[in-house]
Each structure stands twice: as C-alpha cells, then as structure tokens.
Amino acid sequence: MIKATNLKKSYDSLNVLSDINLTIQAGQVYGLIGRSGAGKSTLLRCINGLESYDSGSLTVDGIEVNSLSDKEAREFKREIGMIFQQFSLLNRLSVYENIALPMKCWNYKKKHIDKRIKELVEMVGIPDKLYARPNELSGGQKQRVAIARALSMDPKILLCDEATSALDPNTAKSIITLLNEINNQLGITIVVVTHQMSVLRSACEEISIMENGLIVESGPVETVFLNQSRALSNLIGNKDLIFPKSGVNLKVLLSRETAEKTIVTQMSRELDADFMILGGETERYRNSVLGSLIINIPVESFAKITNYMDCHHVVWKNIEDEINTSNELEEDKRV
C-alpha cells in the first residue's frame, strides 16, 4: 500500500508537489493524470525513491521512503519495478541480457536467471525475440522487454511513467491489455502516470487528476467521469461543438446502468419531446461502458426533460453553466 500525506517538494522557488495526499491500495491499478508539468512524474519517482521530497510523508508498506539509507534504498527499489516512456533499454545488449541485467546486479544464480527470463518472455509475448537487439524491435516490443525487465525480480509494485505515450494507439492498447493481465495474474499494484485519457479509462480502477502540484480530484474512474468536474474538462478540453442559437444545451452522461439502455429515445417518445443530438460517444472502461450525449432542447421542455432524467437517475449537466464557469475562471486568472 502506498500512502502520501502532505507531501511537498520544490526546486528552488518552483513547487513541484504542494501538499499531496494519496492512498493507493495493494493490488490496484491507479492512474495519475495531468498535463505536462503537473508533477505526476515527480510524484511517481518519489514512490521508488528516485527523487526525494522536502516534507510530508510517503510510505510504501509502512516504510518511510526518505528515511532509507543508500543500501536500504537499493534493496527497497528491488521491490518496485518501473517502465519508462522511452523504454530505456541498453541498445548494445540483447533482449535476454537486458532482462537479465537487474538479476545480474543482484547476483542471482545463472540457472535462476535463465529460467526466469524464459518465463518472462512468454508472459509478455515475445518468446521469439530473445536474442534480438532492441533496435531490431518495434516500439511495442521494446516496451514489452522493459516490462519483462521490470518484473524480473518479482516486484510488488510496477510504476509506469508515460509507458504508452511513445506508442501508436493500437500498440498502446495492447500494452495496456498486458498490464491489466499482469495485474490480474500476479496481483501487482500498478501506478500509471499518463496524459492519455484512453489509458486511464481502459486500465485504471481509481485515478487522481493533478494540476500544478496538487491533486484536484480523485476517486474511482467512473465516478470521476460522471462528476465531469472542471479539472476533468480542463484536461480533456471541450469539444468544438457548434451550438444552435436557441434552446438549452445539455450533456447527458450515461453511467454503467444506463449506457446500454435506450434511455434517450425512450424519453423522447414518452415525453413527446423533440431535441437535437449534437454529439455523443461511448467509451469502454476497465469494467464497464460509459457514454455521453450532448443534446439541444427547447427552453419550454427543459423542466420536463430534466425531471424525467432525474427520475431515471441519468446524470446531466447544463453546458452553458460549464462554459460560463470556465470563462469566469479564465477571467479570474487574468485578474
């Protein structure tokens, strides 16, 4: 279990982490999302002690990370695997030697190393590339090698620093699938840092959104999505929809229960109300499907429709409100 309380870190006058509070349960896939410079990578590096923090506490299984001596810190890192955006493989070593490197550093027996590597390449799905050099591999294959290397010493935690950001969407998806499998099979806690929403959606159970060194929102991924907080829309950005001049624009959020029903057309029929559909999408999450629909309704049927949606537990938001608040915020910033 990873627990951060009042964690702070700054470089000179720049606060990279200001007061982070976070709990990650064992066995979870946890996502940290934010724009670049939000401090998510720094937070991740604090977890395995690659970076130190100035004040506050960060414990992993009850061990205070900053309190470890050099030697203890090395032992501690053994328990935590890490993968990187640029894969960080040694180009002059074969896949086999790359995966063997951590075990060699910890003086594992040759026989054990050999056995472990064969298991690992099977697990990550590259058994035929054992003696290839990294530059003969595709990006996805390189990341698989890096995952095998990170898992070589049976870590309890796997940290992923933008692990799919350098990959094309399909390859990224396959890496996410692999990480999910690893989480299911081995029960390893996985912490994912990313700026890609798709990664969070398909991998994480819980997420935290970071902004300027602060966690501005956290919770189960579906809840965060259904909340549609400002932090989330800041991150995704509002789609450039063209809204009709009249009527009210609503965003209808379809949760796990409602996403697979024909709730919107039902509503139209039952209320005998017409509305325009401006846009919509459904997205697959780790365990469910969530969707959103943007509709334009006449002002006079506003009460009727919102009432109907409330009765059927459909979450909705008035888009004008959202735009206004974000505009106000922009103005606040300017002031």
Partner: protein, 223 residues
Amino acid sequence: MFNGEFCAEWWKYFNGIIGPSIFSTLRMLTATMVLAFIFGFALSIILIIVRPDGLDPHKRLYKVLDFFVNMVRSFPIIILIVAISPLTRAVVGTTIGEKAAILPLTIAATPFIARIFENAFAQVDKQLIEAARSFGASNMQIVFRVMVKEAIPSLVAGMTLTTISYLAATTIAGAVGAGGLGAVALNYGYQSFNNVILYTAVIILCIMAQIIQGIGNFIYKKL
C-alpha cells in the same frame, strides 16, 4: 633513380637503421597506450562519478581533477618531456632512450584518454541510468554494466584517435632522445641531409597511422 644501386643502398639503411627503429617506436607506443589506457580509464571513471551531474557529485574533487587534466593537456608534448626530466631520471634512472620516453608519454596520454572516455560516458542516455537506478543498481554497477557497455563504440573510436596522436608524439619524443622512427628521421635523415632515410621514415609513419585507423575501424564495425 630507382636502379639496383639505389635499392641496395635503401636496403642497407632499412635493414640497419629504419627497421629496428620501427620496432622501437611500436614498443614505445604499445607500452604508452597500455599504461595510459589503464590509468586513463580509471581516471575517467572517477571523473564521471564525481562530475557535478554525475552519480555521486563531489564538486571540489572534480575541480581538482579537472584542473589537473586540463593542465597536463595544455603542455605541448616536447615541453612536457623536458620539463619533467628530473622526475623521469628519478623514476627510470635516465632521460634517454625508449624506457625514459614511456613515462612522460604516459603522463601526457592519461588525461587525454580520461577526457575522451569521460565524454563518451557522459553521452550515455541519462534515462538508462535512471532505469538502472530504478532496479537498485549500485553506482559501480551503473558505471560498469550500463555506461561502459553502452559507450564501448565511443571508447574504441577514442582509443584509435589517441593511438594515432601518440604515434606522432613518440616521433616528437625522438627529437629529445627517445629513439625510434622519429629520431631516425631527424638525426639520420633531416640533419644528415639524407632524403632517402627521411622520406622512408615519413612513409612508414603514414602507413602505420593508416593501419592503426584500419584496425580501429574494423573493431568498431565488429561491435
């Protein structure tokens, strides 16, 4: 000009003077390179570790070493040889001959190699070092298992460059009593107005440089 008489005379010089001096030069060069490689490699490891952005920064130690490296490298080789002749006499017992030349050449080549190697190590991707740290590698393991491994091609290229530079340096050392091809070219060739010896020595030096570069390139490609 290239008649039988010329050939006989050339062979006499070659067999008597130039030939043995080739081996003398090679012995000096090999000894210097082996010693300078050992010391230079060790020094480069220390430099890369204590560098301000290194694995275990020690600002003051780095400054001292850095100053020493720059100072020795700033000496022209011929000045260095005569300047440290008291030291050479104390260590080797004489300032003349092959053995006496090896000491100053090694002293000059060590910082040269150290700097080239340090730069080669510094070129190794910082993310690789971070990855190694992330699985708990010690500083020494990072140096030897990651940095040295990744930098080998640059190290080979650096050694080739150094060897050719110090082939030239051994011939310069010949001017102040070191013997070898340089001494032959100067004493028997230039100062005795014997162009045959002078240019034969020059051509042989060129060929040696080409061969060294060729071997270096071959190893580089094999890696």
